[in-house]
Symmetry: C2
Subunit: 575 residues, 2 copies
């Protein structure tokens, strides 16, 4: 089946299925969403107005049997950052969308009248339907209701109350193979979907499948590729403890941002660690390993049960646990899991929202350590859209502005995640220069700074950090275009067979002959496209820096500050 662009205009309530323009043909995932947003969205437009577009694209390898290729990219101008934005997540949607022959779904315009809609996509059709039952409901209610209402196992993208209220931290949530939720969490893309009055999108692939130009070559490349992933030592740790294996690692490194980024180690780290989590999961009959999409060989997800043995939450990530845990000084994993579940249900970014709570605690809205208070505010204030709920739901910068706090860990208004940039300086470069606001996944310098993956770069030294972050950001932009999970990067950095196998997969899929240089050029070109959008939107070098306090407040225990000058930072873009 030929790939097509599926387009939905919410102003006219019309749809179309279009051929792919030639200039978009070589793109997928993030490369495609960013190319389309840059081509079709006015950089200065209001992110929640009619000129913004929500673009959803599977990766170049999504829908194939390639290991770990099930990530879906969603792009738009972000209401949180004002920059171009791509957020990717697992779940079943990328694979199903690819099988349905959809290269990208573009949602544009805004409905004129009140009321909510859903969108249904199949290989032959795309329809807009009025929706009256589910608006106002949380994401879990959406999944339950649609399980009854719909036949088969369509992919589902949904927004909770946060997206409906156009909160700047709202997720687009994506159903996984077992009915759990994965989140396109960063940058408020759920608010863009909410502004267009779309409660959910279903994708039914019928009997569609992805064609492979050279099937035997593809199979062989996948065998090599999957083996490289499984052979990497980090894969085992991720499978056993999930990403939360990092709590103890980063705490040990003195880089676990604690109490709203005033310290680098958290006294309660053991209680929230991956090791403790693993024991609790096993003890309560949860699942320590779980895959967020079919074909994942790493399985870093998990099912975390409550004390009664009932499922409490799934996909319980390090960055979420760090944010509610160390950053808010909550040393109770059950409270963190409860908050995680509520945030998944409301459909709101766990990183942005939890870091926002850290700032709210500094402002005196609640006490540090008050995990029950976090759950109460999420339920009573954020879900209901009260004044305080809106302040929290609009993110960390929003809380800082509301209460006049100056220690506000954001870049381009997006919360800095779980690695303090003072003592993991490579991450500081990534946070500051990323085209999308502070985001660890944009250039995960923790690799060489802490994990010894892809070499070793002293985390406390400035030496080599800009080059490291640049190389990682370029590679990440390319990987995010394939539909591959970012965790393939560990093997790609350390195992010389991994990256050639990935390129072989691309070549066999499309019958082309990409080289490693082509992939680097693709990554560079995506970054430049994204930066071009941001410059036209009004961003400058002055936005490519960390908040002042990182330069002036030494971080215990190493008592270091972030010490790159703006001029040094600007050299990031010399390529």
């Amino acid at each position: 089946m030929a790939n097509k662009i599926f387009r939905v205009n919410m102003s006219t309530l019309t749809t179309s299925i279009e051929d792919v323009p030639e200039s978009w043909a070589g793109h997928g995932g993030r490369g495609l969403t960013s190319t389309i947003v840059a081509a079709e969205v006015e950089p200065t437009c209001h992110p929640l107005g009619p000129k913004n577009k929500l673009v959803i694209a599977p990766g170049l390898l999504s829908g194939t049997i390639a290991a770990n290729s099930g990530r879906l990219s969603i792009g738009a101008k972000s209401p949180l950052t004002g920059t171009i934005k791509e957020s990717n997540a697992g779940g079943t949607a990328a694979q199903i969308l690819a099988k349905a022959g959809c290269k990208a779904l573009i949602v544009e315009g805004l409905p004129e009248k009140d009321g909510w809609y859903s969108i249904a996509l199949t290989p032959e059709s795309i329809t807009i339907n009025e929706e009256t039952e589910l608006p106002g409901k949380g994401n879990f209610a959406v999944l339950e209701t649609l399980a009854d209402r719909l036949e088969g196992s369509p992919a589902i993208l949904t927004i909770g109350q946060a997206g409906e209220m156009k909160m700047c931290s709202a997720n687009v949530s994506i159903k996984d193979p077992d009915g759990n939720l994965r989140s396109s969490g960063r940058g408020g893309l759920g608010a863009v979907m909410g502004s267009k009055k779309i409660k959910f999108i279903t994708i039914d692939p019928k009997d569609g499948k992805v064609e492979i130009a050279e099937p035997e070559k593809f199979k062989e490349a996948n065998r090599v590729f999957a083996k490289a992933l499984m052979d990497h030592p980090l894969t085992a740790g991720l499978g056993q403890y999930g990403t939360n294996v990092l709590v103890n690692v980063i705490n040990e490194a003195g880089s676990l941002p604690t109490k709203n980024f005033t310290a680098g180690q958290f006294e309660g780290h053991e209680a929230i660690s991956g090791e403790t989590m693993h024991d609790i999961i096993v003890e309560r009959g949860g699942k320590p390993r779980h895959n967020c999409h079919a074909g994942c060989v790493i399985q870093c997800s998990q099912i975390y049960n409550d004390a009664k043995g009932e499922k409490l939450t799934a996909g319980f990530e390090y960055e979420s646990i760090w944010a509610m845990g160390a950053d808010c000084c909550v040393d109770n994993l059950d409270q963190i899991a409860e908050a995680d579940r509520i945030m998944d249900d409301i459909g709101i970014d766990t990183i942005e929202t939890s870091v926002a709570f850290g700032v709210a605690m500094e402002a005196g809205v609640l006490e540090f350590g008050d995990g029950a208070g976090i759950c109460r505010i999420l339920q009573e204030e954020v879900t209901k859209g009260t004044g305080l709920g809106r302040i929290i739901g609009n993110g960390t910068g929003s809380v800082g502005r509301a209460y006049g706090v100056t220690r506000v860990p954001v870049v381009k208004n997006q919360a800095i995640p779980a690695y303090d940039p003072r003592s993991i300086k490579g991450m500081g470069i990534t946070y500051a220069t990323s085209t999308q606001g502070a985001d660890h996944t944009m250039g995960y310098a923790v690799t060489a700074n802490i994990l010894g993956v892809g070499g070793n770069v002293d985390p406390m030294s400035k030496e080599g950090q800009i080059e490291l972050s640049r190389n990682l950001q370029v590679a990440t932009a390319a990987i995010d275009s394939t539909g591959m999970c970012l965790f393939i990067a560990f093997a790609a950095l350390d195992d010389e067979k991994c990256l050639p196998a990935l390129i072989d997969l691309l070549n066999a899929r499309f019958g082309i002959a990409l080289t490693g240089d082509d992939v680097v050029a693709l990554g560079q070109s995506i970054l430049k496209t994204e930066r071009g959008f941001n410059l036209a939107a009004g961003f400058t070098a002055a936005d490519d820096r960390l908040p002042d306090f990182f330069y002036t407040e030494p971080l215990p225990p190493h008592n270091v500050v972030f010490d790159f000058t703006d001029e040094e930072m600007a050299t990031f873009w010399d390529f």
Copy 2:
């Protein structure tokens, strides 16, 4: 007495009195505050952090007998806009500060421990004192308490609860000769003062006075200057009806922004007009004319009494009345006066806050027309700093972001005031290009667009608007440096004797020989200093535009849009 720089360091709780650097000697008022902020404040710093400075300066002619020379300039990096900011107001402080020999008061740093302070300035001393009684109190309580506590009639600068809570719309409020309040309202300078934990500043001039180099020349120039002011036809209207004379004028022009900028005429305009206000004031025994500082010959202020004949509010301006009136659809002048009084007491900008209410009404927080609701929210929410109170108190952009509203009338996050830029296009140029966010006083193109002052430029045509706004912005920057009220501009534009007399005043004051060209060069240089700060803070041409809806939503009754391209707008800076 030689002029000095008085400096207060709140980090070390120390003060100093310094000589004036030579490069600052020719500056006063806005020219001086902007020069000092540009020289001493890092453009990328957090406006509420230790690196921002609050700079307070009388004008070059303040403290003399020159008519209308009593405006005080306050500058800083604005927490509302992120730009450089100067806001000027009447009251007694400019004249007293000049008589005390203070060319500028610079407040820097932040105290390390909790608690509040006051600052007391005399010609020989500047002291920091702990203050425990007045924090938490409104501005009127501050004036009452200090009237009992202090001898004589010192000038008083104070912040209310809004400033203490570092709300981005907080005023610095200034006592007038009769114990009423005038406000440095725009841009949240009260939040900067609050961040430095200063509740109030008192200035006692002792027997200080301003020296005049050539007293006779000065007196003669002032005679000509004051006559020019009094002879101008607009002066009479301003004296009789106050600035609120404009409600009917701008409504008639179809440019009175109504119902959150969705129409240009307000059905209830008569009820809130200057003419109605005048009748109410006279009927209730108020004062239709009142001067905000000694030596004002225009007297556009007034005392507005309630139905019982008790003073309700003073300095009841067109822009405030428009914002609560037409923009929020409140056609009850008593409710507007009550809200005005509360905002003066809390110390919060009436324009920013009322336009914020208009957006909140669009979001459904309260109904359009609900003047009682505005007063209730101000008392119950803003004063107490609840979630909703913080959202409102942080301004129009804050409300828009909190509720996901796209029709948000701000430029650089500052609310657009009482003249719709679609049908008074010269004001659109000023709002968009001003170095300080949307501000009518920065380049009041209403003159030639509507009032026939300084020529005639068709308000609905693009022709000549950029040049008009540029000339006005240059002239305003110069006038704002003299300590002169902006209303001298009407005479300066129309009476050929006025501007030469003003220059004679400056020359006689300092024994110098400025020409008209020098004054133009001064204005240009101030604008460029301010713009330089903004560029270094990260502002670009993309910030010099109006919100999207002004380009896409035609304004009734003329059904026109704002139609300058970004490229045309950029030519503003070609000088």
